[in-house]
């Protein structure tokens, strides 16, 4: 059982290792991730939102809908904790 687990993990690691060969180099300024939309965010954030911290303006303004969904996920997690644990507590008391 244990050997089977190790074999599965090693196979997954090998596949991922093979995948890294085609990935862009570390710290490449012209990698696809940093060429597409992020230059616009960096250059326009002060003019459009007066917020020097780009991460904040991106989090709450440009990607605000994303963060709304994420806040809802946290809300759901709190609700689930209450549903799982509080009913049992009431029964015990």
């Amino acid at each position: 059982m244990k050997s089977l687990t190790i074999i599965i993990v090693l196979i997954t690691g090998a596949v991922l290792f093979y995948g890294t060969v085609d990935m862009p180099d570390w710290g490449d300024p012209n990698s696809p991730a940093s060429r597409h939309v992020s230059p616009r965010y960096i250059t326009q954030t002060v003019a459009e939102t007066e917020t020097p911290n780009i991460v904040t303006s991106l989090l709450a303004d440009y990607r605000g809908y994303d963060t709304l969904g994420e806040t809802t996920v946290i809300f759901g997690a709190g609700m689930v904790c209450i549903l799982i644990l509080r009913s049992a507590r009431k029964r015990e008391e």
Binding site: E50, N53, I74
Partner: protein, 157 residues
């Protein structure tokens, strides 16, 4: 887990430090525009200060500040603030969460209106995260049997 601690040092240090931790948390929320920080981090620090109050001073002292029902109300209120600001933009003729159209309401330029909108959203996120963290901790710590083996053994010896 939640009980009035008998250790004088921990109680005194917690008593002195908790207001400063809470003020630092609000500072992190309010100054997310200029420095690292924002609603998530500040809310979690605020929740951690309340958890510290719970595990040092016991349930009675902590719950007379924010009761359990209030926590449950607060984490709906946080999401409501966020979604409410987004919906307010719809009434002014913009898109959902497009704070620039709030400028005539706030008497500032559209860019500054966006900045203020970000601040309001961060406050909503902070309230939601704070109450959810305290609620999860409280529900976990109140459930099930608590065996205080370590401290009772020490007191008996």
């Amino acid at each position: 887990m939640i009980h009035n601690s008998t250790d004088v040092i921990i109680k005194t240090v917690a008593r002195i430090f908790i207001p400063f931790i809470q003020l630092y948390a609000l500072y992190v929320i309010m100054h997310g525009h200029y420095s690292p920080g924002g609603g998530f981090q500040g809310g979690v620090i605020l929740g951690a200060s309340l958890i510290l109050l719970l595990i040092t001073h016991g349930e009675r002292v902590a719950m007379q500040r924010i009761s359990e029902n209030w926590i449950t109300i607060l984490f709906s209120l946080g999401v409501l603030i966020y979604a409410g600001i987004g919906t307010l933009c719809l009434f002014f003729g913009g898109n959902f969460l497009d704070y620039g159209v709030l400028a005539p309401l706030l008497h500032v330029s559209p860019a500054a209106a966006r900045s203020l909108g970000i601040l309001g959203v961060e406050i909503g996120v902070g309230i939601a995260v704070m109450s959810v963290m305290v609620s999860i901790f409280y529900n976990i710590a109140r459930s099930g049997p608590y065996r205080n083996k370590g401290t009772t053994a020490r007191r008996e010896s």
